[in-house]
């Protein structure tokens, strides 16, 4: 059950964790230690058992060699009959090597006849078997051998236990390694999720800190402290910007209201009225600018993903065309559209529409009479693409980044009304959606491309 919760953690990730590798390393070292231990036990036991076998062989030979020559064959037969396990071997040969008695018909060829026990390398006997050949006082040769069945048995037992314990160590080691690594992996996943929330704009998100206060917790606590500070600073900066705009808007609004009332009261005197009216228009222009600034701050404050929902871009485009066709006609510009069916996207319809009104509005505003503005919606492999093309003066390549910044006036727009912040609003909306906003050359004119799919966290590709 513990594994079920972490199905998404690939084994490759498991392998990469330090805990898993350490557990495997410990497991491997332990297995090598066990092998060495068992080998040591075998070597000492084999040495001991060889000594015992030598003693048995020597004892047997001594007992037989003290018997008179005449009864020796009978003794050998008797000794053979007492061997229940089939490990004792005897042979009596004449001085020139001809068999006389015993269950061994031929002397092992390479065995020196010197009465010392040696290892027997004979087919049919277990490896490690011991034996000796001894010349009796009357010239006959006595052979006594002892098969190493006990040694083979010991080897089998030790090998068997080695295989068993080895596989248990490997299985248990892998299991424990995985188990121990899952917890840090899960914590890393939680940390990653928290970081992703921060990147998406939720600055109040914090890394999880457990009660164990281990090294990950120490790191998380430090990062959390850092993020709290960043959040505080950002809030300060935002509220400063917002307050400046607000504080300036309020007196301006009041000034405007007074002028307006004055204007109303002045119905009879046309001269003063014109001046006041101009002042009114001036304050209106200022107010529009401040409203746009505050709007950008609002959009950038994010968390507006709450407004996300399914959006049919084709409908949005039709709304746009409907809204701007009369404006374009009045300006002597032909507004056309090429709307292809595209998949529904998840977006903030209001903000997207606001961004697009800025783009289309700009295109119409900057295109001289007789020109064309074209709105294109097309399906690309990764999602829908919106393009707005005009036949206006366009934007020089080196200025394309700069015009997306606040207050930049790049298109020689003296005398063109507006806040000058339209493109900044578009850029803020694109950033909120994680869409790519590109300015390009329409040859001639400007081509604005809004790719309506997330460009991911690739900061390089982002709209500055």
């Amino acid at each position: 059950m513990r594994f079920a919760a972490t199905e998404d953690l690939a084994w490759r990730e498991l392998w990469r964790t330090a805990t898993f590798r350490l557990t495997l390393l410990y497991g491997g070292l332990f297995a090598a230690g066990v092998v060495a231990l068992v080998a040591l036990i075998y070597i000492s036991a084999a040495g001991y058992l060889t000594g015992q076998m030598d003693a048995i062989v020597l004892g047997g030979a001594r007992g037989l060699s003290q018997a008179p020559a005449a009864v020796l064959p009978a003794r050998i037969v008797e000794a053979e009959s007492q061997d229940q396990r089939g490990v004792d071997y005897y042979g009596l040969f004449s001085s020139d090597g001809i068999w006389v008695a015993g269950n061994v018909r031929q002397l092992p060829g390479n065995l020196p006849v010197d009465g010392k026990p040696r290892e027997l390398k004979v087919r049919g006997l277990e490896p490690g078997a011991r034996g000796l050949a001894e010349r009796l006082p009357w010239g006959e040769i006595l052979f006594v051998g002892f098969d190493a069945k006990v040694l083979t048995g010991l080897r089998r037992i030790l090998l068997g236990s080695l295989i068993w314990s080895g596989s248990i160590i490997i299985v248990v080691g892998l299991g424990l390694g995985a188990l121990f690594s899952l917890r840090p992996l899960r914590r890393i996943a939680a940390v990653q999720a928290a970081c992703r929330r921060v990147i998406e704009g939720d600055l109040t998100s914090r890394l999880p800190v457990s009660r164990r206060r281990d090294e990950i917790d120490m790191l998380a606590a430090t990062v959390n402290g850092m993020m709290a500070e960043i959040e505080r600073l950002l809030a300060e900066v935002q509220s400063v910007g917002d307050n400046v705009a607000h504080d300036l808007r309020t007196p301006l609004t009041r000034l405007r209201a007074r002028l307006h009332r004055l204007c109303e009261a002045w119905e009879g005197a046309p001269d003063g009225k014109t001046t006041v009216r101009e002042a009114l228009a001036e304050t209106d222009a200022l107010l529009i600018r401040f409203r746009a600034l505050q709007r950008i701050a609002q959009i950038e404050r994010l968390k507006r993903r709450a407004g996300f929902g399914p959006v049919r871009l084709a409908e949005v485009c039709e709304d746009l065309v409907d809204l701007f066709t009369p404006v374009a006609e009045d300006a002597g510009i032909i507004l056309t559209s090429d709307i292809q069916p595209v998949a529904e996207i998840s977006a903030d319809r209001e903000l997207l529409f606001e961004a697009l009104t800025n783009l289309v509005g700009n295109a119409i505003k900057f295109t001289p009479p007789g020109g064309r503005v074209r709105l294109v919606l097309s399906a690309q492999p990764r999602g829908p693409r919106l393009e707005i093309l005009d036949t206006g003066p366009g934007v020089a390549p080196e200025e394309r980044e700069a015009v997306l910044q606040r207050f930049h006036r790049g298109r020689g727009e003296q005398g063109v009304p507006g806040s000058g912040l339209g493109l900044s609003i578009v850029a803020a909306v694109a950033r909120l959606h994680d869409y790519r906003l590109t300015l390009d050359d329409a040859r001639p004119g400007l081509r604005v491309i809004l790719d309506c799919w997330p460009i991911g966290l690739d900061a390089e590709a982002r709209v500055a």
């Binding site: 301006l252 609004t253 009041r254 405007r256 809204l323 404006v327 606001e354």
Partner: protein, 226 residues
């Protein structure tokens, strides 16, 4: 005389509201404290309430929620410095009838309040025929006639005219028009609405006819006979 309760803790804004509404022929009662505002909104009869979102003691959302819970259906125009769209939705969901962001142009405020008041008056009258002077619109067939002559309107123009006909002699600001006809809540700039209005006006008020669509300078548009 129509009475408005203004619950607003900023004295300058309150004076602004009182002066604008006073000019428009309202009697304005000003309350600066949230708790007192709630008591008065529940115990007295007003034609409408302008309600600040952030108030001392009891905040604006709580007041409108309490009013609706007590079955007081006086129209409420919420006024707030909180301009996030989420805030707007929250205010409307709590029972506010309209939402205005501070700072605001006082004509905008007056126009919105006027619409709220009339909405209540005409809530019962659901005629399928809208008429102002000799201009009429059949809501079922979408046919529009001026003095018996049929006008050919595009769908957007027709929606625009319907909005004007539903609020005869009331000032509709450009933001209100954009909200009602296109359904989006941001400031589209003055020019956009003016162009659409200009087109409609060319069809509704051809040269020689008595103009019905009037531009209210600095504020918006109104459809009226004189």
């Amino acid at each position: 005389m129509r009475r408005i309760l203004c619950i607003e803790d900023d004295e300058v804004t309150a004076r602004e509201i009182a002066s604008e509404l006073g000019q428009a022929g309202f009697e304005v009662d000003w309350v600066a404290d949230g708790r007192e505002g709630l008591v008065r909104a529940l115990s007295e009869t007003f034609d409408a309430v302008t309600l600040d979102r952030m108030l001392p003691n009891v905040d604006g959302l709580a007041i409108v929620t309490a009013m609706r819970a007590a079955q007081v259906d006086t129209p409420v125009l919420m006024i707030s410095a909180l301009s996030d769209v989420d805030e707007r939705v929250r205010g409307l969901r709590a029972g506010g009838d309209d939402y205005l962001t501070k700072p605001f142009a006082s004509e905008e405020m007056a126009a919105r309040l006027e619409v709220l008041l009339r909405r209540r008056d005409s809530a019962a009258a659901r005629d399928s025929l809208l008429r102002v002077e000799d201009l009429e619109m059949d809501l079922l067939t979408r046919q529009v006639r001026r003095g018996g002559r049929e006008l050919k309107l595009l769908p957007t123009e027709s929606k625009l005219l319907e909005l004007l006909l539903r609020h005869p002699a009331q000032v509709l600001t450009r933001t209100m028009i954009f909200e009602a006809v296109w359904g989006y809540h941001f400031d589209p700039g003055t020019n956009l609405i003016d162009v659409h209005m200009g087109r409609l006006r060319r069809k509704v008020d051809p040269p020689g006819e008595r103009p019905l669509i009037h531009t209210v300078r600095g504020a918006g548009y109104a459809l009226r006979g004189d």
